[in-house]
Point group: D2
Chain length 342, copies 4
Amino acid sequence: MAVRAAVAGASGYAGGEVLRLLAGHPEVEIGALTANASAGQRLGAVQPHLVPLADRVLAETSAEVLAGHDVVFLALPHGQSAAVAEQLGQDVLVVDMGADFRLKDAADWERFYGSPHAGTWPYGLPELPGGRAALEGTKRIAVPGCYPTAVSLALAPAYAAALAEPEAVIVAASGTSGAGKAPKPHLLGSEVMGSMSPYGVGGGHRHTPEMIQNLSAAAGTRVGVSFTPTLAPMPRGILATCTAKAAPGVTAADVRAAYEKAYADEPFVHLLPEGQWSATASVYGSNAVHLQVALDPDAHRVIAISAIDNLTKGTAGGAVQSMNIALGLPETTGLNTIGVAP
Amino acid sequence: MAVRAAVAGASGYAGGEVLRLLAGHPEVEIGALTANASAGQRLGAVQPHLVPLADRVLAETSAEVLAGHDVVFLALPHGQSAAVAEQLGQDVLVVDMGADFRLKDAADWERFYGSPHAGTWPYGLPELPGGRAALEGTKRIAVPGCYPTAVSLALAPAYAAALAEPEAVIVAASGTSGAGKAPKPHLLGSEVMGSMSPYGVGGGHRHTPEMIQNLSAAAGTRVGVSFTPTLAPMPRGILATCTAKAAPGVTAADVRAAYEKAYADEPFVHLLPEGQWSATASVYGSNAVHLQVALDPDAHRVIAISAIDNLTKGTAGGAVQSMNIALGLPETTGLNTIGVAP
Amino acid sequence: MAVRAAVAGASGYAGGEVLRLLAGHPEVEIGALTANASAGQRLGAVQPHLVPLADRVLAETSAEVLAGHDVVFLALPHGQSAAVAEQLGQDVLVVDMGADFRLKDAADWERFYGSPHAGTWPYGLPELPGGRAALEGTKRIAVPGCYPTAVSLALAPAYAAALAEPEAVIVAASGTSGAGKAPKPHLLGSEVMGSMSPYGVGGGHRHTPEMIQNLSAAAGTRVGVSFTPTLAPMPRGILATCTAKAAPGVTAADVRAAYEKAYADEPFVHLLPEGQWSATASVYGSNAVHLQVALDPDAHRVIAISAIDNLTKGTAGGAVQSMNIALGLPETTGLNTIGVAP
Amino acid sequence: MAVRAAVAGASGYAGGEVLRLLAGHPEVEIGALTANASAGQRLGAVQPHLVPLADRVLAETSAEVLAGHDVVFLALPHGQSAAVAEQLGQDVLVVDMGADFRLKDAADWERFYGSPHAGTWPYGLPELPGGRAALEGTKRIAVPGCYPTAVSLALAPAYAAALAEPEAVIVAASGTSGAGKAPKPHLLGSEVMGSMSPYGVGGGHRHTPEMIQNLSAAAGTRVGVSFTPTLAPMPRGILATCTAKAAPGVTAADVRAAYEKAYADEPFVHLLPEGQWSATASVYGSNAVHLQVALDPDAHRVIAISAIDNLTKGTAGGAVQSMNIALGLPETTGLNTIGVAP
């Protein structure tokens, strides 16, 4: 019997991507689709790439419309998920693709989001130590942020194996879809094509505390993070360049071995052969993480570089992967590791 | 029992795309992969997006290596397919993604390709009148060119219904993957980003006689074509703007009705609702054709605009679709109509 | 003594481009800069590329602020120029980069813009027959639309020499800056990168009557135009592919000769050597028009393809060129024909 | 009397850019243009954007052709400049845009380039401490690498003021023109559009020792550098994100003050107002450096981010700026700080 899934926020980029994946998921039947400003429109008018769902009409987001499904994906502005989730009941699997339930520390939440903390849900990054167990059978999933997904998978093995000092320096480039579909002047095609630009510099990005949370858990001690996100002239993709001083005596072979061991059995993490580096084009539309790691012999730093699709593994693909685990389905169902390239 | 498929020319863009599709095809098992300059390399080194096949090693293209498969896809430079096909025998389904067997007229071939004509195979565009029947049970398929796919599907209904005069004016924009993976200065990223440029202007493009062949068949009379291809700053996609003087008395309603009728049951041709126009982003990586048509009331011209992914519906997706028909499989097996967007 | 110039609408793309050019114009001193929503801001906050003017503060647009200049450039939404121009007096040179005064036919204006016609000013395309004379000493200039600039220069010589039949078919690709800086969802970088899409299809684009006006004047008879604009994934540039049935007996040599003669002395129109085609990258940021023309021997059509920078020659460069003529300065002052490439 | 300038390597990107600038330089007359593979061709065939020079013919590179000029710009593959320079004599100003004479340490050269060290010339980065004096009256100039230009200007003030610890972590994104015009598969438009990818990771990039040289000179002690370059989907531009642990007790005000002081009188370094960050689009085609700096309060790191045009300030503009100093011309002659945006 099919799993019935609803999507709240189906007109945006995260909502569109989860629908793209669910439409190809053999165990899922797509139910209600809701939106706010676009309610009443055909889905085809706002998501023309989703041909099989083109004639579906977007409903206003409400608990009534979302009721009666086995799974509800929330792609809502932050701060709105808690109210909706409460009305859905404890027997419905609620997968929140927003930020509301990612952070464990209420003070972090309040500092970075400026509103009361709604709580903490099981965290949807199964590749982290203990990550998979936390998701089995759960009815609530907080899907990680796109940058924290790329960064945590890049550096967790180094910290879990005590290979790096607890101060990470991270510079990541993201495609523009990470900034969403609400039109803003700096996101216009005229502005972003041909341009690289940083934003949220100096500790201000909301994804920083989430990275610190994940890396500290892997390290067993607090890891400081200097994170600089940049906007890149491409629609999708994150390339995260993550470095940290290597612990004394650590060799390139130690680093390689730790990563090979950490990801030997992971279906979506693709540790590249030595010498080959990640590129976002290779993961376009796929749930794969392309990862490479090296030891800079001069600077004695671990350099781990991951490439993901911010909308797939970084959002909707990660959400479906975690849903699969929560429902007891094979984890890779409806997902793939093949990018659309060139 | 799985269909065993080999791909000759697996290191290029057409070869890579057919592998992307075959890897998700439930009835196909991927066999030999061959190349020329890249023979001996891991597939992952040249097609890093094809993770599940990364450790496959490319063999030198030869009849021996390609033998023993049910289907062989040829993605070879033009002029090379005939020799390979001959050695494969008549019981193997050979799907040629090159130009060698597309044209019926030997003089056309010789004029545009400057070499002797190898012959004509059943033409892999099932949506054309009579197209599907020609493919059932065949052991040889000539996959259409990417531009002729976009153009023929855009204009055939108008000509089949005698709505347009037999002189078509076509301007099409193609992503750069249509020009292949062999490095040439004008295809460098530095040259193509930020630039639109025409090429093969004035009747010189090799796809012109193929369009004339298809449109003339639909019209039942010779259709002249003025075709201007342009290179657009995007990796994939064709947008074909196709116009022709409307026949006297033809109305917008006549035009709409003809296209609705022509494509009512086609699984891959998506005639958009009136007023919504095609965009290549919507078909990225999908086998769909997004099509819109209108009658310009002032110029009294039929304007049909189609968007396809040049590598999917325009090459490898069309190849798999025709293979499905030839093998008696459901036509849509392993293909989808959902693009990767944004 | 320097010419003092003001710019109304300095926060937008046309306003920014005219400032870029005026800042390098040896005879011009930049005076008042005005805006609407951005009034009160530093220019550097909205036009960060204009470093020498970064600390200028944008004033609210008003006749008072614009008074006291020799030249006033208007980069305003259509419909607003007439009121401003009236208040400026007849001794000030007013250069309107909007549409208000381009069309001669009031009925055309009303049909395409839906408001009363404000009048007709001397038309700022000196390369058209008689174009230069109309601008000498004038105090009012209507700067042409970007598409009509590209198209009129591409086809006027063919019509002036009676080489083509009076039905032109034009497909043009424009960079996104042509759509302006007001944020709209379909202009987001995420939407436009990787995508070609048409708009205003079927005679609806407002630039169509302007093309008809120019080409008809060149031909001495009414020329019908089928015009399809498309949005291309690049910030700047127009590539206009313009074709028309050649008159009976016209040869390729006739066509070449007519264009060589028409543009032999034009400083900004660069007729390319035979066989080399226009590309928008070559005119990036320059006032040049790269033009090529051919006769398709099979379709017997004249094919003229022009590339311009829509913001430079297509808007602000054309405006400065016409200002130079009106003021009696050498026409090329402050302008150049060298693009920023690659 | 005009300065006569020749350009060796006029068919490549650096050569084309120096010609673009020299064509607008009021004191320079352009003399011989040479190339290798393109010798004998019209310049317009390989650099179509340089309209005023289109009919110049490229000569074979030789001392004879380059003789008789006041200045010779060399845009040659590394290892070739020394032989040419020797033949030109000591009274000719030779400006080498290649790497041959940048490094002071012969061992560094041999490690990174694998050939004997040719020597060290005055270094063409006048904004560094002592940089301007080293160039006055010189007859030999080593133009810095594009990355070292961006990085050295971003971090030198912090090191000169002893605000940062001597271990810098740098991640930079470059447009593809930085990789040159020789066609290679990974530089194809199909590969680079939509993709961010690192290269030369782990200390291997040849620009690393040059950065160490410059930053160490500023600091008065050896500065270690961890440098990761990435290829971005744009033709031009470098965004360099440069961070280093702040020295104990350093405040945000200390950092701001040091940068304001360092660059108060620099014509090309534009320290942005606090809170506004650099973007490569703003420096497109200009010689400006857009720079911002902050102190991350949590990680206690100095974060300096610079944006330059890799071909202008990063290569040819820097070359012209240094030429101006060497010849006693005003430093900004023929250069500007206005980018072509959007």
